[in-house]
């Protein structure tokens, strides 16, 4: 009898032990992001979390063009397929006001993230509305527009001599848009299949808008007053028009057929030996320093966005914050994951893997700035970034900008001023429709 009782107790104990183990393994979190290298780095990072806690974390990805549609389709259905999403900064308005994101203000204040993360990343990846002190995401992947260039072309003595003779100053990494334009013109030699510059022109999402706004901001222009939604005289200011006009001038020196290009093509402009300089988000630079993917890796250099005529220097912000989806059934588990993610050692590991940490301490460290040929330029850029409208109707606003500037830049129709006047009128009508001028 004693044997039977002992066996039963042992059996129950074993079953409970197995049950506990199974339950620990059953805990799962799904993070949704776009399909690119940083998502692979994140998967590598979260494997450590699984090893520490037994909670399986999967980074689910989808190609960039489908990212927004797929995420919002799931949000709108109040689906729980994703526990967290690494959403674009422009989604903050829609994500917060439409109830898709969990309010992380308490979490933010409790962990004093305002002191931990770079100021620009908090402003653009986490807070909505601007200046409200309400936070909806934790800055995860910092990113911004930067430039790669062919060091060997720039350092060739014959080229240097010819450039100096033509433009009257030394050929070097451009510090102003005017110099960037001169250098693009100088190296633009279609008969040799060499071109001056590669810029973003795709208008199906935000590629072209990011390139154009970098120029507009640096020329002293703005897209509008994000607090009051005022656009008249701001969106279509003379400074903004000058910035857009500069972008149009740069388009003249792109390789032929450069009318639907984004990050893939702009990297190909360097890997294919096509262009002297190429614009891209920093997150797309890793293949350019890899000899397996870039035959010119040894002679590829990087620089931050140049200044406008008055010395103002800005770059369009990319990157994303991570938000907890309000329809998730594992919100508490997701919060525990975020607590792990913001730890200093996790942020350090994130940067080592290739992710662009937003932690000020890691960004400032020599280890980070010397880790790659472009990390220093990235560090400089992250303190001069500006973003697009993050208002809930940003998709409509983005489409209107695309519709107005694309025919000017790529099609050569009208003037910069006309394109921006039309944009200001369209945006005013849209913001009026959504009662933003209360």
């Amino acid at each position: 009898m004693r044997k039977i009782v002992t066996s039963v107790i042992a059996g129950i104990g074993l079953a409970l032990a197995c049950g506990t183990s199974v339950r620990a393994q059953d805990k799962e979190l799904t993070i949704f992001w776009a399909e690119w290298d940083p998502a692979n780095y994140l998967q590598e990072l979260v494997n450590d979390y699984t090893a520490e806690t037994g909670v399986k974390v999967t980074v689910q990805t989808t190609p960039w063009p489908d990212f927004q549609t797929k995420a919002f389709t799931e949000f709108n259905a109040h689906g729980d397929a994703y526990d967290m999403v690494v959403g674009d900064s422009q989604w903050l308005g829609a994500g917060s006001t439409q109830g898709h994101y969990v309010d992380l203000t308490d979490f933010f204040n409790q962990h004093k993230l305002n002191d931990v993360m770079a100021p620009a990343t908090i402003k653009y990846y986490a807070e909505y509305p601007g200046g409200s002190g309400k936070y909806w995401a934790i800055p995860l992947e910092g990113d911004a527009i930067g430039w790669s260039y062919r060091k060997d072309w720039f350092e060739d003595p014959k080229e240097k001599e010819a450039f100096k003779a033509k433009y009257g100053y030394d050929l070097a990494v451009p510090t102003t848009y005017a110099q960037l334009r001169d250098i693009a013109e100088f190296f633009h030699r279609p008969d040799q299949k060499r071109y001056g510059v590669a810029i973003y022109t795709d208008n199906s999402y935000d590629a072209m808008a990011m390139g154009v706004e970098s120029a507009i901001f640096s020329y002293g222009g703005d897209l509008g007053d994000y607090a009051t939604y005022k656009v008249d005289g701001i969106t279509n200011s003379k400074e903004a028009a000058a910035g857009l006009d500069m972008y149009k001038q740069l388009y003249k020196f792109t390789p032929p057929g450069w009318g639907k290009t984004f990050f893939v093509e702009d990297n190909q402009a360097i890997t294919g030996g096509l262009a002297a300089m190429s614009m891209n988000f920093f997150a797309f630079f890793p293949p350019l320093v890899n000899k397996a993917t870039n035959p010119y890796a040894d002679v590829t250099g990087f620089f931050a966005n140049p200044a406008g005529p008055d010395g103002k220097r800005f770059a369009a912000l990319g990157g994303q914050g991570i938000s907890v989806v309000s329809y998730s059934k594992s919100k508490d588990e997701a919060m525990k994951f975020l607590e792990w993610f913001i730890k200093d050692e996790t942020q350090k590991k994130w940067a080592e893997l290739g992710g662009y940490t937003c932690s000020q301490a890691v960004l400032k460290s020599d280890a980070f700035q010397n880790a790659t040929p472009y990390n220093k330029a990235f560090y400089d850029t992250m303190f001069m970034v500006k973003d697009f409208w993050a208002t809930p109707e940003y998709a409509e606003v983005l489409d209107q900008l695309n519709q107005n500037i694309y025919p000017f830049v790529v099609g050569g129709k009208g003037t910069a001023q006309e394109a921006l006047d039309k944009t200001a009128a369209d945006w005013k009508a849209t913001f009026t429709k959504y009662n933003r001028y209360k």
Partner: protein, 301 residues
Amino acid sequence: MASVALTNLDPASRAAARGWSDLTIRNLFIIPTLVFLIVFNIFPLIYSLGYSFTNFAANRSEPWQFVGLQNYRELLSDDHIWSNFVITAKYVIVSVAGQMVVGFGLALLLNRSFPMKGLITTLLLLPMMMSAAVVGLFWQLLYSPSWGPINYVFGLGDFAWLSNPDSALYAVAITDIWMWSPFVMLLSLAGLSAVPQHLYEAAAIDRAGWWYTFTRITLPLVSPILLIALIFRTMEAFKTFDIAYTMTTQPTAELIAIRLYKQAFQQWDTGKSCALAYIVLIMVLAITNLYVKYLNKVKER
């Protein structure tokens, strides 16, 4: 023994012997079809019609409001939308006309005996079996001014087909012609093979020329099936999305289907996009009805 006896009966009697009436068998086929039709076609159609009179946005949690005809009014007075319709009309005319000419021409060439006719016909049919998105990406490469073979073959240098606002739409139309001419060819071949041979023999005896035979015998007898091809291709061209979306982002090639997609799934303006879908539907129905009326007249001749 019973099964042997059953197999000797006709299908209806066999079913009756099993206890299935004609009505049961008919219902077995019709009821699932009806359910499918109601659930996946009629219900969404009515539901979206309802939405088209509201300000419903699928990405907002706030309740929607009934706005009457406001969506329709705004759309029909929007210059951008009219511009999309004009672009679509241009595209339909160029693309469908091209497909009819190329498709029917190919059918005339194939409607005779020559070596490897079967293989050549099969090869010609391949384009329409491909995915439209893949075809779009493939032609994007063909048009590339840097490494695409089209400019090389025709000596066009750096001409940028898809970046040029004046040529982008026609470049997409040429791709659509390449992809769908085989469909017209297939239907035309069926029509050509149905023309009674004795008519051609009689014409030959009367020493009728090729043009006379073509315009008085071939074309009138094939025209009903050509009109059917025309109806199908017009409807499809009007709805073209994938090829154009993958090939170019030129606003001058923004077809109405692309505008509809942007309105519905990028801007989440659900109510208005439903209204736009209905405007497109009404236009397609109107055009199709015109064709069908003409088709009936042709048949009566």
